[in-house]
């Protein structure tokens, strides 16, 4: 537990130092939402129907930048190796990093919602439910994302490899998050929101458990 808190504190401090990057990543996500809206055209009904999908696509694209960046600092002077040799628990290092990335992506998701509302005329009054969807969806992105970012951080083509490995794995998370968000925006006459949320919980638990088990094998020789 001490190692986990130490790792989390370190990662939050690193993120705070790189906060300018968060603004850049938000700008990237917002730009993606803007471009997607051009693809739909001015029809407000179509825009509203596609809003949830584009919100999560924008978040997914922006997340690859954020996740890759989080391991950039670990690799510059092999700082992660230095912690492992102290020795710090690999599992604690993983959960510290994954929780920090989760917070980062949640913040990004919350910040992109007003952009979606403005560009797609798509809002909801169930803000708490929307926050829950973002929280669970980003949990499902950050856990495998952290693992794969660690795996690809030492490779030459990491900017290409990370999305290549991550995107197929998070399709179920993306699907459930888009459906749940869409139901909040467009209405839920059949009461389908709960099953999609349950699916998000299952995927989050699965990814967070596996990530903790596998991280040591990924970062150790």
């Amino acid at each position: 537990m001490n190692d986990l808190l130490a790792a989390l504190r370190k990662d939050l401090l690193l993120q705070w130092r790189g906060r300018a990057q968060l603004i850049a990543i938000f700008a990237f996500g917002a730009a993606a939402l803007l471009l997607f809206s051009f693809a739909i055209g001015p029809d407000s009904q179509s825009l509203r129907q596609h809003a949830a999908g584009f919100l999560w696509l924008g978040l997914l694209l922006a997340s690859t930048l954020s996740l890759a960046e989080s391991f950039e600092r670990e690799m510059e002077e092999q700082a992660l190796e230095g912690l492992l040799l102290l020795p710090a628990s690999a599992r604690a290092l993983y959960y510290g990093k994954a929780i920090a990335n989760w917070g980062h992506l949640t913040l990004l998701g919350v910040a992109l919602v007003p952009v979606m509302v403005v560009l797609y005329d798509a809002g909801t009054l169930r803000l708490l439910s929307l926050f829950c969807v973002i929280l669970l969806g980003t949990a499902g992105l950050s856990a495998p994302g952290t693992l794969y970012a660690a795996m690809t951080s030492q490779t030459r083509g990491r900017q290409t490899l990370l999305p290549l490995l991550l995107f197929p794995l998070v399709v179920p998370v993306l699907l459930a998050a888009v459906k749940a968000t869409s139901l909040l925006i467009l209405g839920d006459p059949m009461g389908q929101f709960r099953p999609w949320i349950s699916l998000l919980v299952v995927f989050a638990v699965l990814h967070w458990s596996l990530g903790g088990l596998l991280f040591g094998r990924v970062v150790e020789d």
């Binding site: 130490a6 370190k10 002077e77 230095g82 912690l83």
Partner: protein
């Protein structure tokens, strides 16, 4: 007590063998140097001993702990100063020491960490970001981080690298201090004469093979060392 017992260590990168059948013992409290030409396997040997990388073949025991099966026990007693400093560039010097202190359970109060920085001549740069440091200052900070771990086995890869003449003396004092504290030290260096003056044991590697292990006084000079005299510093 034997601090390091290496038997037939082999390590390869792709098809190339970096270490071939390296066998030697180091007694606790000894101060040893390993020398050899560039690419002879010095850094690889230190990284294997630190458990940063695994040996492909052979056995390794550090203070009686098997390096493969009891890796964490080995790591608790070992510190490595490598070519890469293990520092976080966006953090300050004090924050870097605090991060390590939290994991090793050391004193992380500002005064204690500042005292550590004073020891390496960085007392007035504690609040500066590491990314603003020169290579020599980073090396000094990395040395402070090693001291923080209170290790029984210290592995130093080119500890004089990047340092100015006062920095050379700092490393000499650092080594003497480790000797007084009873730590076992293995240092990879090209500064053969300097190493002879300080160390009591010597190892020579050539193309991954250990060609000498014994008293430093009888240690042969590594190939080409005589032809190109090294700057031995202050």
């Amino acid at each position: 007590m034997i601090a390091v017992a290496a038997g037939g260590l082999c390590r390869r990168y792709g098809r190339r063998w970096a270490l071939i059948e390296v066998t030697f013992d180091l007694f606790e409290g000894s101060l040893a140097m390993v020398t050899g030409r560039n690419g002879s396997g010095k850094s690889t040997l230190l990284r294997v001993l630190a458990t940063a990388i695994r040996a492909d073949q052979g056995s390794l025991e550090i203070f009686g702990h098997d390096a493969r099966a009891e890796r964490d026990a080995v790591r608790e007693q070992t510190a490595l100063l490598g070519h890469r400093t293990h520092l976080y560039e966006p953090l300050t010097a004090l924050e870097n020491l605090a991060v390590a202190a939290r994991f090793v359970g050391g004193d992380r109060r500002r005064a204690a960490l500042l005292a550590r920085l004073e020891e390496v001549g960085l007392g007035d740069r504690g609040d500066d970001l590491v990314q603003t440091f020169s290579a020599g200052m980073r090396q000094r900070l990395a040395l402070a981080r090693v001291l923080q771990q209170r290790p029984r086995l210290v592995l130093l890869d080119e500890p004089y690298g990047h340092l100015d003449p006062p920095g050379f003396l700092l490393v000499d004092r650092f080594l003497q201090r480790l000797r007084q504290e009873g730590a076992t030290v293995l240092m990879a260096t090209h500064l053969v004469q300097r190493g002879r003056d300080i160390c009591d044991r010597g190892l020579v590697l050539e193309a991954g093979r250990l060609v000498y292990a014994g008293p430093v006084g009888e240690m042969p000079a590594p190939l080409a060392a005589d032809a190109t005299p090294f700057a031995e510093g202050a």
